[in-house]
Amino acid sequence: MIDQKTIEHIAKLARLSITSEEAIEYGEQLTKVLNHFQQISKIETTGIEPLVTPAEIEFYARADEARHETTTDEMLMNAPDKAGNLFKVPPVV
């Protein structure tokens, strides 16, 4: 059972504010979902390399050359708060 305390911890890790009612609700729902999903533990996978991407991709890297595809103004266009050329944020230190 994923209890309220665990949900609150997970929400903190995920940087998501939730109410205590939501924590209880999510706890019940995630418990139900994960109980159903437990079935994959039955499958034998010893020594099997996890598959992270389903396609056979050749490694590709472009030349390490600067490109100017977007202007500073375009990048600041959606800023919730800015000061000059900078995004304004709460103090980090």
């Binding site: 929400a11 994959i40 099997i48 992270v52 389903p54 944020v89």
Partner: protein
């Protein structure tokens, strides 16, 4: 020419021959959207520059300049793909006012082919859903019966296509989000092989599963769209360098001798009788067309839903970490920014900006990746994923394609399944394995339920074998009992 019935080729030929202008085509659909969209809520934004952009194409044609094969073809784009200068929301409050400074590669390629972009289509928030009920911009309705869902997450794309509020639409598919709504709305939908279409500029949900693809009214139009959007993109290193075949040129309904597999593990008692009837009829028609039907077994498909949700939620929890209210998107209001703790800044902004289903999946993913659970959930699911992919590769040595239902049932009523997340997740039983293995998959409209709702059938192909499933789809299209019927909203 009835633009609600015309093919891409008919329209692009007429536009190039100056029999009709791109502006007239765009205007026709914009008028239709104005009239019918309020009943469906398929579009959440209209491209105010559509007519201007169409005129640029018409001017090029007047000067006898080269224009692309989709000249004048009017498209709607799922609001998950970035469109430069046109608001892109991912169906979420957290991106409510986001205006991308660039086009997604798939959008840029459509534009280069001459297409006009009409607007942005509704979807489940961040593509997380199977019913288009989680959008911040309101539910989308099925044009065949507006009490019913259009499916999801590309609900707006499928609904707009079915109601002909566009000539073609683009959706995305992570666990069935093109195929399922296409089936619910009676239109063609194809999810290409993972790596065929660039994910650059597509709001990421699950990076190892997401693929964009067309939702259209005919197989040939889907093939033409694929030709335009597929191909290596240096901005997405997961794209394939394989040359894009000329899908439309090689299209044929002659499927004599093709072997089509029916997956034993997909047989179950829960399948709706109307879905079973349509599926059985499809098998008969394929046999009449000369295909050989064989039974195959892919044991691990039974675990596809748990695998999918564990992997997708884990990837999503990482992908959605970027929505922090710093550089774009919703930022919570604080009286005094200088006294806020950074952690609270993030939590408030994200808590306010994301809807319930998105938060649920972020938390599921965070839990699965957290210390003590990573091996049991995420890592385990990835190991099983490798085994599943191998099972498919072996099966495709015995057959050319697989046939199955798309969903357990036809479209359900709005509100019917939204109260139970697990019940909603189990909708995806037939579609998720395709994404896990990276295979191409298609939904072809084929029948109708006793309540007058469309039912599609699903084709799955081997990696990069879109041509085979397009050809089988062509044969099915000719025999479809759903052909020619139009939704009530018309």
């Amino acid at each position: 020419m009835d633009l609600t019935k015309a093919s891409f080729k008919e329209v692009s030929d007429s536009v190039k021959q100056k029999k009709i202008s791109a502006v007239e085509v765009a205007q026709f659909f914009l008028d239709r959207i104005e009239k019918l969209n309020p009943k469906l809520n398929a579009y959440i934004a209209i491209n105010q520059a559509a007519l201007k952009e169409a005129k640029v194409l018409d001017d090029k044609i007047k000067k006898n300049e080269e224009v692309g094969p989709l000249a004048g073809v009017a498209f709607g784009i799922k609001d998950l793909l970035c469109t430069k200068g046109l608001r892109t929301t991912a169906g979420s409050k957290i991106l409510n006012n986001f205006v991308p400074p660039y086009d997604a590669t798939a959008v840029a390629r459509l534009k280069n082919s001459g297409a006009t972009i009409l607007g942005k289509l509704n979807l489940d928030e961040f593509a997380m859903g199977s019913s288009n009920e989680t959008s911040y911009f309101g539910k989308c309705h099925n044009p065949w019966n507006t009490d019913y869902v259009p499916g999801g997450s590309s609900g707006g794309s499928a609904a707009a296509q079915a109601a002909r509020l566009a000539m073609g639409t683009i959706g995305t598919d992570t666990g069935g989000s093109i195929r399922q709504p296409a089936s619910f709305c009676g239109v063609v939908g194809i999810k290409p092989t993972y790596g065929r279409v660039s994910r650059y500029g597509i709001v990421a949900y699950a990076s190892s599963l997401d693929q964009a693809g067309p939702i259209t009214s005919s197989v040939v139009d889907a093939a033409l769209t694929l030709e335009s959007i597929c191909g290596f993109d240096e901005k997405d290193s997961t794209t394939s360098t394989k040359k894009t075949p000329q899908f439309s040129k090689n299209l044929t309904a002659n499927i004599k001798g093709m072997k089509i597999g029916l997956v034993k593990e997909y047989q179950n008692d829960e399948t709706h009788p109307d879905v079973l009837k349509t599926y059985t009829y499809a098998i008969e028609e394929l046999q009449k067309a000369g295909a050989e039907i064989i039974e195959v077994s892919i044991p691990l498909v039974e675990f596809a839903v748990p695998m999918y949700y564990l992997i997708a939620a884990s990837e999503a929890s990482s992908n959605l970490a970027r929505y922090d209210g710093v550089r774009y998107g919703h930022r919570a209001e604080f009286k005094d920014l200088s006294s806020i703790q950074l952690e609270d800044f993030y939590s408030q902004s994200r808590g306010e900006g994301f809807g319930k289903e998105v938060k649920r999946r972020i938390m599921l993913g965070t839990y699965c990746l957290s210390t003590g659970y990573y091996d049991a959930y995420y890592n385990k699911a990835c190991q099983v994923r490798r085994l599943l992919r191998e099972q498919y590769i072996n099966i495709f040595k015995k057959c050319d394609a697989l046939l199955s239902p798309v969903t357990i049932s036809p479209a359900f009523k709005i509100g019917e399944r939204s109260g139970d997340p697990l019940k909603m997740y189990l909708n995806d039983i037939f579609t998720t394995a395709t994404n896990l293995a990276g295979l191409p998959g298609m939904s072809v409209p084929f029948g109708m339920s006793s309540l007058g709702l469309p039912i599609g059938v699903q084709l799955t192909g081997a990696h990069y074998e879109e041509q085979k499933i397009l050809n089988i789809a062509c044969a099915l299209e000719m025999a479809s009992t759903a052909k020619g019927s139009l939704p009530n909203v018309f």
